[in-house]
């Protein structure tokens, strides 16, 4: 009990300090809005957030795609995924629902990917949808169908990192700079990266939900 009180006091102190700090922040933060908008035309996309993500700070995103892959590696190394298999002929509704929803989700994911260049959206948003689609499939009891192709899954999971790295290498050969795209080709490269990332992100999120390595002989 005393520990709770202690922690409470500690947290309040933390809160006080944080509040003090926040209130002392400048009213008009000298952010990077102006800079990022100024360079937007050169970035190859018109959506500033995407420009930051894939161009200005594209290097963050490279590592982030790595973190995603690492997460799935970690989870797979930690435990076997278990999933109660159910027989679909018990649940016709689910199947018909999936028939409708899955294509829509995939399509929407693709759309978000494409629109990301101009408006809010992008690989992560699209990937989230894709992941959602996979989750649905699993809820539908089709986990085994998804997890049957171990090789394919692994390939899809590493696709993002591999393509991203490849783009790094190629553009570096062209321009001599890491993630430095040749003039006016930014959009293309970004699209290549994002498409690959979309697949990996979608798979990763979906399989994180499954929460473990696919079990070869899993009931």
């Amino acid at each position: 009990m005393t520990s709770r009180v202690l922690v409470g006091v500690l947290s309040l102190a933390l809160l006080a300090a944080l509040g003090w700090a926040v209130l002392s922040l400048p009213l008009r933060p000298t952010g990077l809005t102006a800079a990022s908008l100024a360079k937007l035309s050169e970035s190859g996309v018109t959506n500033p957030v995407t420009a930051v993500l894939l161009n200005y700070r594209g290097y963050d995103t490279l590592l982030e795609v790595g973190v995603l892959l690492l997460a799935i590696v970690a989870v797979w190394s930690l435990r076997r995924g278990e999933w109660p298999a159910s027989h679909l002929h018990d649940r016709p509704l689910v199947m018909s629902l999936l028939r409708v929803v899955l294509p829509v989700l995939v399509l929407a994911a693709g759309y978000l990917l494409w629109i990301g260049a101009f408006a809010p959206g992008g690989a992560f948003q699209g990937g989230a949808l894709l992941g959602g689609a996979i989750v649905l499939v699993m809820l539908g009891g089709l986990a085994r169908r998804v997890l049957a192709f171990d090789r394919l899954l692994r390939a899809g999971l590493v696709l993002g990192v591999i393509v991203f790295a490849a783009v790094c290498a190629v553009t570096m050969l062209l321009t001599g700079g890491l993630l430095q795209f040749p003039a006016n080709t930014g959009g293309t490269w970004i699209m290549v990266i994002e498409s690959a990332a979309l697949v990996s992100i979608g798979l990763t999120l979906g399989l994180l939900y499954f929460g473990g390595r696919p079990n070869a002989h899993h009931a």
Binding site: S3, L15, L25, P29, T33, V49, R57, F124
Partner: protein, 102 residues
């Protein structure tokens, strides 16, 4: 919008952070502690968004937004990892973890 605005969100953010921190320390149940971590994270993201909100022009500062996107992805991974680990630990421990109210 009025000058003080964005700081209110920031204050809300740090409040979330402190709340999350508190329960991360006091909660015994591992699932709750993971949720507490997520609350802390959301607080941090809110602060970032708030910082992005206050700019001269009509368009918010995209840099913190992008950072938040990165942060969110990382925290999703963190949550997945933590959950898997917790489950593995509980599987290893024959008896249920203390405070387990399943």
């Amino acid at each position: 919008m009025p000058d003080a605005d964005y700081r209110i969100y920031a204050l809300a953010g740090v409040a979330l952070f402190a709340i999350g921190f508190y329960s991360m320390l006091v909660q015994a149940h591992l699932l709750r502690r993971i949720m507490a971590l997520n609350v802390m994270g959301s607080g941090v993201f809110l602060v970032y968004i708030a910082l992005g909100a206050q700019t001269p022009g009509p368009i918010p500062d995209p840099v913190p937004h992008a950072m938040v996107l990165t942060g969110i992805v990382v925290s999703v991974c963190a949550t997945g990892l933590a959950l898997a680990l917790v489950d593995r630990v509980q599987a290893a421990a024959s008896e249920a973890e203390p405070g387990d109210d399943a």
